[in-house]
């Protein structure tokens, strides 16, 4: 049994984690995955705890995934969205958070358009804070579920060639993935339009290329990212049609990838833009497995961030 343990009340990002902690989290997630396959898909681990989904930025899949993860652990869940809360009436994030603390929330899952918002809450509150996406900074549970999926399908992460293709500049998924994959020893290549894939990303220990053919040719894993129109302040490429022609994963390009290369996408997918519809539905696409693994990863994160904080004597 590994001696690695988890001793954080928060999960703010991948950048602060050691490779051992990441693997511990993935092992825990693998154990929780199997709960979803039981007759009764629920364990009592977080009975009596309250989790708040504080989504200041819209999201359906991540919020639902966290909500279901908490429910499978028997926690009570409250959902707060920006439009349907006092935030619309001018309340600050700090005041919203202090109100949640006054209600004795144990874990707050936060998504916010400002990078660093979860870190701010973590310093302010006693509750555990889980980052569900902060601006273009980090989205740690997405990177963890991607890693769990790769590990399941390929048996390892160390030494694999992973290509992340698309909108890197505005993508928190890309940043969390780059940190996680390089920490675990993968060779990461970033590709896409030069306006969305700055050379500066090379300082994170990955390779940047603008030649899509070369980027996908040798890859063991191809992770496609959606163009984040909502975050772009100006048009970063002439047209969607041109993006698809230059960087979309179409059948011709797909035919030139390695026969066992995994096709991943964090969703929501834009069929016919970054990925051809048939490829999204092909046997090499693991997009729906990523969703299943997301639930397991979030269960593991909620479980680990709830444990042991009160530090009484350890029981056998």
């Amino acid at each position: 049994m590994s001696a690695v343990t988890w001793n954080h009340k928060d999960l703010l990002g991948i950048q602060d984690l050691s490779p051992e902690e990441i693997n511990f989290l993935l092992d825990t997630a693998a154990a929780f995955k199997q709960v979803g396959e039981r007759t009764i898909k629920k364990v009592p681990s977080l009975r009596g705890k309250t989790m708040v989904n504080l989504f200041i930025e819209p999201s359906t899949r991540t919020r639902t995934s966290f909500e279901l993860a908490a429910k499978r652990l028997s926690a009570d869940v409250i959902n707060i969205t920006a439009s349907a809360s006092s935030i619309a009436k001018g309340e600050t994030l700090k005041d919203t958070a202090l109100n949640l603390q006054a209600l004795n929330a144990d874990i707050i899952v936060i998504r916010h358009s400002a990078a660093g918002a979860p870190h701010f809450l973590a310093r302010l509150l006693k509750a555990g804070i889980v980052n569900a996406g902060d601006g273009a900074h980090e989205h740690p549970t997405q990177a963890l579920l991607d890693a769990l999926t790769i590990r399941e399908k390929k048996g390892r992460i160390n030494g694999l060639k992973v290509t992340i293709l698309g909108d890197i500049l505005y993508s928190r998924v890309a940043r969390s993935n780059i940190w996680l994959l390089t920490k675990l020893g993968a060779n990461v290549t970033l590709a896409g339009p030069s306006t969305l894939v700055p050379r500066a990303f090379e300082q994170f220990g990955c390779r940047v290329t603008y030649d899509i053919e070369e980027a996908i040719h040798e890859a063991d894993v191809i992770n496609l990212l959606r163009i984040q129109h909502e975050r772009q302040r100006q048009t970063m490429f002439p047209s969607i049609g041109e993006y698809t022609a230059m960087f979309g994963l179409n059948k011709e390009r797909f035919a030139r990838t390695k026969p066992d290369a995994l096709i991943m996408h964090p969703g929501p997918i834009n069929r016919g833009v970054e990925i051809d519809s048939e490829i999204a539905d092909s046997s090499r696409s693991v997009i729906l497995e990523q969703v299943t693994n997301g639930l397991a990863v979030r269960m593991a994160v909620l479980f680990l961030c709830s444990g042991g904080r009160f530090s009484a004597e350890g029981t056998e």
Binding site: A30, A31, T39, I40, L304, G307, G314
Partner: protein
């Protein structure tokens, strides 16, 4: 213990074994092999990791390492022999029974224990006991098994 299990289960068709992580697992395999040798019949063996069902998450210094439970058969209608190395407070067994009910509805759950060291905190008693060893609360009982520790032994540490 294997003979007692045979005597107590006149209908061995529904018999199955479930070991509790970690030491209960090889013990469940050994017991099922012994019962198989007597009855000339194979029995399903599953393993249970009860970390998700414990009630002391808040009391521990660090969260426990959680492993998967593997029960590759339908527990509904089965007579389950639950196997663990040491019976102490009974809380592990309570958690294990809760977890088994999440997989289905067994006809019966029986409990086989190598060492019963006393100090129960719940109304739980074993059906099959290797040896009852009265202990002080401050002592620790450690079971070693060839499959995990390289040798079979029982240690009482002060």
């Amino acid at each position: 213990m294997a003979h007692e299990i045979v005597e107590n289960n006149p209908d061995p068709g529904s018999l199955a074994f479930i070991g509790i992580h970690t030491h209960g697992v090889p013990m469940a395999k050994r017991l099922s092999a012994k019962v198989s040798a007597i009855l000339k019949k194979e029995f399903p063996v599953g393993e249970l990791d009860i970390s998700m069902h414990r009630d002391d998450l808040d009391l521990r210094e660090i969260p426990p390492k959680v492993g998967p439970s593997q029960i590759g058969f339908d527990v509904t209608g089965k007579s389950i022999v639950l196997v663990d190395d040491v019976l102490f407070t009974g809380r592990t067994i309570r958690a294990a029974m809760d977890e088994i009910s999440d997989f289905g509805r067994p006809r019966q759950i029986q409990l086989a224990i190598l060492i019963d060291r006393g100090h129960r905190e719940l109304p739980i008693r074993p059906d099959y006991v290797g040896k009852s060893v009265p202990t002080a609360l401050s002592e620790r009982v450690r079971v070693g098994l060839v499959e995990i520790d390289g040798r079979d032994e029982v240690m009482i540490e002060r």
